[in-house]
């Protein structure tokens, strides 16, 4: 598979005393699921913002399909249009992303901007509303929806644009278990449909479900390891070192004890 994204020696700092990313270097291949794992404050969201062309590296370069993405490059109308239609960004907080009066308007916004006809945009919107089980909410204003519904609207607003790459910042943030499994299934099916999916998360359970290729960020904002989920998730010493799992106190019957209890060990198949 060819590289679709290349992050080359990227560093980012908000202020001199606040580095958010230090010397990050990796590639994402076309059609894969790629997860950026790290504890809170490790720089996952900043890295996704850079990939989404919303923030620019302090040093280093970022290439999308061989084209450098920079503030200057995105000022070019044709480059911006090409980049945005290829790459859909779903924010951790859907409130940030939803700005149209109704759910229907949200989903129509993207395809109409892409220059699709009203009929085609409406057809796409209807199909995505149905797939995401949002048809009954189409006339509602997004701020009146629940967190799970807002998340689905945010995803729908991007899907109607049919980007080849989907970037999702913390896909499970603030969702109940039912919504979480819904999103997990959706991501797997979109990937099977050929979409490249890039997520940031600190949920090992999600990484276990999606089996992505993983890049792990340390608390020092450095990329400390990349590899397949099957290689990284069983390495408890490594995961403890990057603060993704930790020993915690819990009960087994009446016995109270403390040990490392990675979340992904709970993953069981039917009948096991």
């Amino acid at each position: 598979m060819e590289d679709i994204i290349r992050i080359a020696q990227v560093s980012f700092q908000y202020t001199k005393q606040q580095p958010a990313l230090v010397d990050i270097d990796f590639s994402v291949k076309k059609g894969e699921i790629f997860a950026i794992l790290g504890s809170n404050g490790s720089g996952k969201s900043t890295l996704l913002n850079i990939i989404g062309g919303l923030t620019y590296p302090t040093t280093g370069q970022y290439f999308f399909q061989g084209n450098e993405v920079s503030a200057d490059a995105l000022k070019n109308k044709s480059f911006n249009a090409w980049f945005r239609e290829n790459l859909g960004f779903i924010f951790q907080n859907p409130d940030s992303q939803l700005f149209c009066p109704t759910v229907m308007d949200e989903l129509l916004f993207g395809p109409l901007q892409l220059g699709k006809s009203q009929a085609e945009a409406t057809q796409r919107t209807d199909e995505v509303l149905e797939m995401l089980e949002l048809t009954h909410l189409s006339a509602r204003s997004s701020h009146t929806l629940s967190s799970g519904e807002k998340k689905r609207v945010a995803i729908g607003a991007i899907l109607t644009m049919n980007p080849s790459v989907l970037i999702i910042d913390e896909p499970m943030a603030g969702l109940d278990p039912k919504s979480q499994s819904y999103i997990t299934e959706l991501l797997i099916r979109l990937n099977e449909a050929g979409k490249t999916i890039i997520i940031s998360t600190h949920s090992l359970a999600l990484a276990d479900y999606l089996k992505p290729r993983i890049a792990v960020l340390s608390e020092e904002h450095r990329l400390v390891r990349t590899g397949l989920a099957e290689e990284i998730l069983p390495d408890t010493d490594f995961l403890t070192g990057v603060n993704l799992i930790h020993a915690h106190l819990h009960r087994h019957g009446k016995e109270l004890h403390k040990h490392i209890h990675p979340q992904f060990l709970f993953h069981r198949h039917d009948g096991e």
């Binding site: 109308k77 409130d95 940030s96 797939m131 644009m161 099916r189």
Partner: protein
């Protein structure tokens, strides 16, 4: 999931290769304003970073600095000689340097502010139309003087020595006052500045309101920044003004709703922690001799500079 993935999502209809064409993307005016509002966060972090430094002013007690600010602003207002005002400026720049702050960008902004609101406002006073005095630069000569309403237009119009002193005096007063305020802001955490106002008997409830307002500005700026990124990520072409207006109206409504919810949450959080209408704010440590000495030294130097002209005359005689 109920339904199958729509057929259009199974195809890749976005263009794989980029073909460059001329034309620049323009963000709507309101959008640019929103982005700048979001920059408040960065400014706040910078303030926090410089205030956390280990320079002379950072190590000085917030109450001493607040008292010094009040004292110095009054002193600057009362000082007439330009030489004293210039020494005040030098004194403040020295304090900036001793605090390890890169003061050039701050001073530049202050200079522009003082030029507009100090010098330009008082600039007409330089002319002998408004203030009588000795002309140092003749601008125009008329055939005779004229009387218009309460103003006399003299035969010789020019810039006077007295008027120049007034204009430059006001410029320095504004410049020095704003420079000192900047020095205090950049060397003191905002919360400490607010708490230090208690020495002026400002009610705790008012201080709490100011603190909450300050924090809310950051919350709001965060929301605005997120909104801006959300919009940018989906902006493919230049928006028509009608589309922009529709989006901005939706965002304003959203922020209003969010603000309203935030008020309720903050009030509930306060109630849950025992708030019943009476506020008790944590106090400062005791005022020490070292703090008093610090104030006396800072104020003493200022006072000496205020009397620099008469002192110089006495010393030179």
């Amino acid at each position: 999931m109920k339904s199958e993935i729509p057929a259009f999502l199974l195809s890749n209809d976005s263009r794989a290769d980029f073909v460059r064409q001329p034309g620049r993307l323009r963000y709507p005016f309101v959008d640019r304003t929103l982005r700048k509002a979001g920059a408040v966060i960065t400014a706040g972090y910078l303030q926090w970073e410089t205030a956390a430094g280990n320079g002379m002013m950072q190590r000085t007690d917030a109450r001493v600095k607040t008292l010094f600010l009040l004292f110095f602003v009054v002193l600057v207002g009362l000082t007439r000689p330009l030489s004293s005002q210039m020494f005040f400026s030098g004194y403040l720049l020295t304090l900036f340097a001793l605090s390890g702050i890169n003061f050039l960008p701050i001073i530049l902004r202050t200079f522009i502010f003082a030029f507009i609101f100090g010098f330009l406002v008082a600039a007409p006073a330089m002319l002998n139309i408004f203030v009588d005095g000795e002309i140092v630069l003749n601008i125009a000569t008329l055939s005779k003087s004229h009387q218009i309403w309460i103003y006399t237009i003299p035969q010789h119009i020019g810039i006077t020595r007295e008027g120049t002193f007034i204009a430059f005096g006001l410029f320095f007063k504004v410049f020095n006052s704003v420079t000192l305020s900047s020095l205090i802001i950049f060397t003191t955490p905002f919360t400490e500045i607010i708490r230090s106002l208690r020495i002026f008997r400002v009610p705790s409830a008012l201080l709490m309101v100011i603190t909450l307002t300050y924090k809310y500005i950051f919350v709001l700026s965060h929301s605005i920044g997120d909104m801006y990124r959300g919009m940018k990520s989906r902006l493919i072409r230049n928006l028509r003004s009608k589309e922009s207006r529709k989006i901005i109206a939706g965002r304003i409504a959203f922020i209003f709703t969010k603000s309203w919810k935030r008020y309720e949450e903050v009030f509930n959080a306060m109630t849950a922690r025992g708030y019943t209408g009476q506020l008790s704010v944590s106090g400062f440590r005791k005022f020490r001799i070292a703090d008093l000495l610090g104030f006396l030294i800072l104020a003493g130097i200022g006072l000496t500079l205020h009397f620099i002209e008469p002192l110089w005359k006495i010393l030179s005689e």
